[in-house]
Symmetry: C2
Subunit: 190 residues, 2 copies
């Protein structure tokens, strides 16, 4: 696989409970090294538009034809606004990889969904579908789902786009931008 | 000079004539390769707070002690909101480098200032003070002012932080973020 493969990393901004929307930032990068574009959109907090908004972000960027994979910081944006990664792949034809630093606590997530959403089962089905792979790194393992490509291809993309730590640059930078523009200074980790 | 030297690049967002403020984005980078932080603030369009806002951005970031130079996309942010780079250096003790792709047309600038501002002389003095160096690159020459370091040191910093084209990464990325968050997709060149 080429080191200079174009990737789109997406992460959401931090938000407070009074906010209706969270910003989402997309970073188009060649491998893990060179930023080619910055995209912004917003999703409704705890809403159900994340799949649609991600699709718009992908479809509307002039970089679309170059993007070989989309990397998401987990499967939900703006709280429990869950991305249907299969649908996103089917509609864009671009492979999707989700990555989280921590193993999701599915019991807690299910409990929170049941408490807060009448349509909890829809969200739960989206959140829990697809195989979650534990992927070893030089540091702690990360947790990965992928659709439209094999886990081995996903691992290769993660490896070539990670510079320091365990999070690929397109997601790490999307996190820095999303938190920086919301809080005035970026903080924390994707 | 270390390749991994920390730099802060600052650029402003595009704006329309109805706007009162333009966003400014700061990118903290190691050399031209690795983004460590994203900062955001705003300046009043055609106002006189750019020096103060840049000073705040520098003073308030947790990266301050590491930053070895500040790189500005030209000497004005948010229209004719001119940065007093000597004052900024004197108050922060961090060397300042301004870079533009095109040679400023000083006659046109003076004319525009005279037309729009009663205090045009103050702005003109800030804009025109300090030596403007024409610096050769592999491509077109760039135009550089510097304070707090020699032009040879400034050239070295520009060289080590430029990957493609002629604009150092901290400024190039600040431009992408500033235009991307304002327009939804980044465009144009710093």
């Amino acid at each position: 696989m080429k080191q200079q493969i174009r990737l789109l990393g997406i992460d959401d901004s931090p938000f407070s409970f009074n906010d209706k929307y969270a910003n989402i930032i997309g970073i188009v990068m060649r491998g893990g090294a060179y930023i080619e574009g910055v995209l912004k959109n917003q999703v409704s907090i705890d809403g159900d538009d994340a799949t649609h908004i991600c699709k718009n972000m992908i479809e509307n960027t002039r970089h679309k034809e170059q993007i070989k994979a989309v990397l998401l910081d987990g499967v939900a944006l703006g709280g429990f606004n869950v991305v249907d990664i299969e649908k996103l792949y089917n509609e864009t034809k671009i492979p999707i990889i989700t990555i989280t630093r921590d193993k999701p606590d599915f019991d807690k997530i299910k409990e929170a969904l049941q408490k807060h959403f009448s349509n909890w089962e829809v969200r739960w089905n989206l959140l829990s579908k697809g195989k979650l792979h534990e992927v070893k790194t030089k540091h702690n393992p990360i947790f990965v789902k992928c659709t439209g490509l094999s886990i081995d291809e996903a691992k290769e993309i993660i490896k070539l786009s990670t510079i320091r730590g365990v999070i690929p640059e397109p997601i790490r930078v999307a996190h820095l931008v999303a938190s920086g523009i919301t809080r005035g200074e970026s903080y924390g980790k994707a």
